[in-house]
Amino acid sequence: MPKLGLKAKLLLAALIFVALIAIGAVFFPVPQPEVHLSPNYGGHSPDPFFTLGPFYFSNTLIASCITLVVLVSLFALATRRMKLVPGRLQNMAESVIEWLLNFMEGIAGPDNTRRFFPVVATIFLFVITNAWLGLIPVFNFIGWVAPHPEPVATSFFGDYTGPIVEVALFRGANTDINVPLMLALVSFVCVEYWGITAVGPRHYISKFVRLQQFSSGLKELVKGHVKAGIGAIMSGAIDMFVGALEGLSEFVRIISFTFRLFGNMTAGEVLLMVMLFLIPFCSLFVVFYILELLLGFVQALIFGGLTLVFATMAVAPHETEH
């Protein structure tokens, strides 16, 4: 074989790429994937596997149980017989916790970090394990298969006749809207609780209900200084409006958290499916897989980091203007 220069190698690689696309499109047609927002793919609301009273079991619930088992067993095994010079598993667990602690101390400071660490670290680890477990080939692949005797249209020419997975057994838990909603509610309740226990309920509520200037304006009116009274009343009204907006934004944060995580994870799943089934036999899909890994990590970081930021803002003693 003659030695190939760089240009010849590139040309050969491009030719093999095109040939793989052609072979895949002609001889191995794959159906176009269908995208569903609800787990278990049952119309407008999930059609669960089985119900137990008010609880129903869907494939995302099974996936989040797997996440629980993985996380708990990992950290239980790592801390079983702790040595001063750690073994490999304990070393890995320690490095993860240490990285999280450093990240949080960069945002919140040492004593706040001690107080907020359990909840924020749990949120981070839960989201990242859910996201990364959803990328294993087992998920979205094992499930109830229905043979399709009638041919299904594919992306290129030809029709696909063969088994199609109707309902998957495992599906990444972050793609079910209940999981991000649960995490957002937990984060909201914890931030309010920390705020109220740190600065006291009266001082905390005075951030949202600012009657200070308004009542001083009324007092000025009663005393007889009309001009100063009316000025203070007007700025007091604006102050009250701003406080009400801040209170509203606390609740809007729940929705924002939910849809940020849900939208990112669902969009990632849609993107992976489309890229995988668009051109079979080509490794274009690997780039998007790496992107999904990175995105899972970033979304976990965002969720935990934003909870930390809002908690730090809530416990900071805020000055009121006089």
Partner: protein, 84 residues
């Protein structure tokens, strides 16, 4: 031509799909520009002070995720209109 256009506009289902496309398409303007401005600020800060690389990139990622959330709202609106 006019009957085809009238047929499309009078049909609720087709209007939904047009709405889905418009939602995602127009909703991508704001976050794109916002993330671009954030990146610009981060690059400038990095150029002035290359040693502060850690805090700059951490805060930039946080800001980008907040801006991207608006684009995700547009995507979810498009999904709701188009699929559900």
């Amino acid at each position: 031509m006019e009957e085809a256009a009238a047929e499309v506009v009078n049909n609720l289902e087709s209007l939904k799909f047009i709405g889905a496309g418009l939602a995602m398409g127009l909703g991508a303007f704001g976050p794109g520009i916002g993330i671009g401005i954030l990146g610009y600020g981060a690059m400038q800060a990095l150029g002035r002070n290359p040693e502060a690389r850690g805090p700059i990139s951490t805060n930039m990622i946080l800001g980008i995720a907040l801006a991207e959330a608006i684009g995700i709202y547009a995507f979810v609106t498009g999904l709701l209109l188009g699929i559900l």
